[in-house]
Amino acid sequence: MSADGVPRPDRDTGQGTTAPGAARKGTAQPGTAAPTAAAPTAVALRGVEVRYGADPALSATLDIAPGERVALVGPSGAGKSTLLGLCSGARPLAAGTVEVLGVDLAAASRRGLRAVRSRIGSVHQGLDLVGPLTALQNVSAGRLGRWGTVRSLASLVRPVDPGPALEAMRRLGIEDLAGARTDRLSGGEQQRVALARVLVQDPALVLADEPIASLDPGRARVVMDLLTEVVAGDARTLLVSLHDFAAAQETCDRVVGLRRGEVVFDLPAGEVTAAHRDALYRLGA
């Protein structure tokens, strides 16, 4: 097995994950189908409507600028996951347009969709790692969107260019676990593997769906710090759904309140008060 592990620039994109802050903003990734020359918004939802059966699940208009950190708050069923699903092109929409990193997702070709998805990092509560693979393989999978087929297959047998993956794991303090089977790791370690994968993917936009919903306060704190670490330095855009108002205000610049599929408020983090919170969660009415 390769032991050099010296971080090398990622040959596919000409950028290293190891060099945060490198000139990345505004450069179109090879293969990206759409004009990203100077995308004014990271995410633009225009008159979006999603329905489950006859019930409207979400109807929203929202713009997020590159580099912004936005928290989505609101009770269960308010449409937070639906909104995040729209941004990764995982959910169909009934009306409106979703533009992510300058690409209209509904109009994108299959190839174009893959290209834009390779620039979107997703963090789920369920982690969604492949259990029987090693931690290193799971982290390296972050680059599948940019790797060709041959290279991907070769890397399953013997890690190809493990430098960036190892560097990402080191940043999250799990470099010792590179060869361990992922399903044998503890929950906290798996969380770090999932975040390292996002780091290696080097996305322009990070979507996190309730990353701390089932964690105790201590662990939740650690995960939020890690998430901040992942988007730090580089002007990555963060869109995260949360129940925890304090965490939202601490981590993000902007807080968007959702209730019954509609945006109730959209304020800078400092201006959100307890009254907003109560309005969002009040029962009935």
């Binding site: 010296v6 995982a90 390779s118 393989q137 297959l153 493990p162 940043r171 044998r184």
Partner: protein, 558 residues
């Protein structure tokens, strides 16, 4: 300690350690051993060393294929086929009833719950009872129903009792084991509270445990019937009667039109039975792998109603079967039967070598090689068929059509028993271990293909979805997401079926393919009962060995 602060300072120059994989070293040795075993088995099949194809058989094969267009549908033969089918179904049904009764009694006695919950003062005696039952049930399970059939034919002659007993005894032992697992996996709370309230063991079982596992037990019994139907055909081929007997007769007389009629009836029966038995199982239960009790309680109500209906129908049909076969239970106790059994045992003891030790070892090796090739062939075909047959959530109409076709082919392959496949393969392949191995391989392709398909359908799709979300293409998603998730399960199923395949070699052996089964058949033809016993013991030892190896390989792989 790894839960510390995220920005923990790391020396920038720290070079990572060599990437060690924590797949246990033992697993690699197992993989190497498996490779050697496969190569040795391929060599043993004689491919490339001696002619294996039988060019003289090609015209017969063509005649056989042409006969498919006009199977014998004359009223006289149809009536005979109907009678044979009824006999086969009756054997299977009564065999299953017997197996269920044995299984229920044996399962309770084998369960740890029965002995373990006994008052502390009796714990010691309980342990012995548990162990004795385990051994008493383990032995008949190791001997294939075809061997039971041969032995019972010698004692009872051509009597319908042979078919029922030959199925009921080994199946009863298997059923007992599965029932014991179901009982032990059930939450002991209600049972224990009855014991604490002063109920006896039997009362506590009947009131506390049985009502909760009744559906699972019944569903397993119907699954056993599905297996019994296939085995009844095999028993027919060794002379017990029914469809298998007619098929063997037609083959001997080169009566291809009649063979086709019989094969079509077999497939229809198998399909109907398979669908019906599947409809009684709750989704997710993998009984075929002996993993009973893992069922989810999904659409329990509909399944429950179907179970009750099937139970009533099975009871009625059982009575009808007894009348149709004109079963005479008194024969079991007649002095004639006892005299014959005594003579058979006296003849067989002590076991003698059929020829030489070298021959016996050679036949044992051929048997082992056949089982390995069978699993190799079955596994490869099964994997391909499973990926074709499980189209995934977002498949187009063409893909879905291919999947449906694939499942039907798998069903048809399973419906035809391995001994019939061996007969058909003997058209084109010279007798020896190869046709036997291929026949077992085809049959196991049907079984493994179905198990693999279920694995693919039940796997967790979220990791795959998340790879798609980060931009991975179809090939990458498959190789990083799907393949690693199912490989372990596939390997475990393959190893489990290997244990079954080594026992099934006897089935293809008796129709002339190689191995210990052929030895058994030739000793039977020459009435050398002591030699037969040796072959049976050798088979038993060999299957015990394979069980051991397979179980430790599965452990190493996990």
């Amino acid at each position: 300690m790894r839960e510390g602060s995220p920005g923990a300072p790391v020396p920038a120059s720290a070079t990572p350690r060599p990437l060690r994989s924590d797949r246990p070293r033992a697993a690699r040795w197992w993989a190497l051993a498996a490779g050697v075993l496969v190569l040795w088995s391929l060599w043993g099949m004689g491919i490339g060393r001696a002619p294996v194809l039988n060019p003289a058989g090609w015209p017969s094969l063509r005649a056989f294929a042409e006969a498919a267009l006009h199977p014998d549908l004359s009223p006289a033969f149809l009536l005979r086929t109907l009678d044979a089918a009824a006999v086969t179904v009756a054997f299977s049904l009564l065999g299953t009833v017997l197996a269920t009764v044995i299984g229920l009694v044996g399962g309770v006695l084998m369960s740890e719950a029965w002995w373990g919950d006994a008052p502390v003062t009796r714990a010691r005696r309980g342990r012995t009872g548990w162990l004795l039952t385990r051994i008493g049930v383990g032995l008949p399970r190791g001997i294939h129903e075809a061997v039971w059939g041969i032995a019972l034919l010698l004692v009872l002659g051509r009597d319908p009792l042979v078919g029922v007993l030959a199925l009921g005894i080994p199946f009863g032992a298997i059923t007992a084991k599965v029932f014991a697992e179901i009982i032990d996996e059930t939450d002991p709370g209600p049972h224990d509270s009855l014991i604490a309230a002063g109920a006896g063991r039997l009362q506590a079982f009947c009131y506390g445990t049985l009502p909760r596992i009744w559906g699972d037990l019944l569903a397993y019994a119907f699954y056993r019937f599905d297996c019994a139907l296939r085995s009844a055909v095999i028993l027919g081929m060794i002379g017990v009667g029914g469809l298998g007997f007619e098929l063997g007769t037609a083959f001997a007389g080169l009566d291809y039109e009649r063979m086709w009629t019989l094969i079509l009836v077999l497939i229809v029966l198998g399909l109907a039975c398979d669908r019906w038995s599947a409809s009684l199982r709750r989704p997710g239960a993998a009984h075929e792998a002996g993993e009973a009790g893992t069922a989810s309680r999904g659409d329990g109500v509909a399944v429950g109603r179907r179970l009750r209906l099937s139970f009533a129908a099975a009871l009625l049909l059982s009575v009808a079967s007894v009348l149709y076969l004109r079963l005479d239970l008194a024969r079991l106790l007649s002095p004639e039967t006892w005299r014959r059994a005594g003579r058979l045992i006296a003849d067989a003891l002590p076991p003698t070598l059929p020829s030489t030790w070298a021959d016996l070892l050679g036949d044992a090796a051929a048997t082992l090689q056949m089982s390995v090739i069978a699993i190799l062939v079955g596994g490869v075909i099964g994997v391909v068929a499973a990926f074709l047959g499980a189209p995934g959530p977002s498949a187009g109409p063409l893909r879905s059509a291919v999947a449906a076709l694939c499942r039907i082919v798998l069903l048809a392959i399973r419906a035809v028993s391995p001994s019939v496949w061996a007969l058909l393969l003997l058209f084109v392949v010279l007798p020896g271990p190869l046709p036997g191995a291929l026949a077992l391989g085809l049959y196991n392709a049907g079984v493994l293909g179905r198990l693999f398909t279920e694995t693919l359908e039940n796997m967790d799709h979220r990791p795959v979805r998340s790879l798609q979300l980060l931009g991975a293409g179809p090939v990458q998603t498959f190789s990083y997401g799907v393949l690693p998730s199912v490989t372990g399960r596939f390997t475990a199923y393959g190893l489990y079926r290997w244990e079954v395949a080594i026992r099934e070699t006897v089935v293809v052996g008796v129709v002339g393919a190689g191995g210990l089964g052929r030895v058994l058949e030739s000793e039977r033809a020459s009435f050398d009962h002591a030699g037969m016993l040796t072959a049976v013991l050798a088979l038993l030892l060999l299957s015990l060995l394979v069980d051991l190896v397979s179980a430790s390989a599965r452990r190493a792989w996990r």
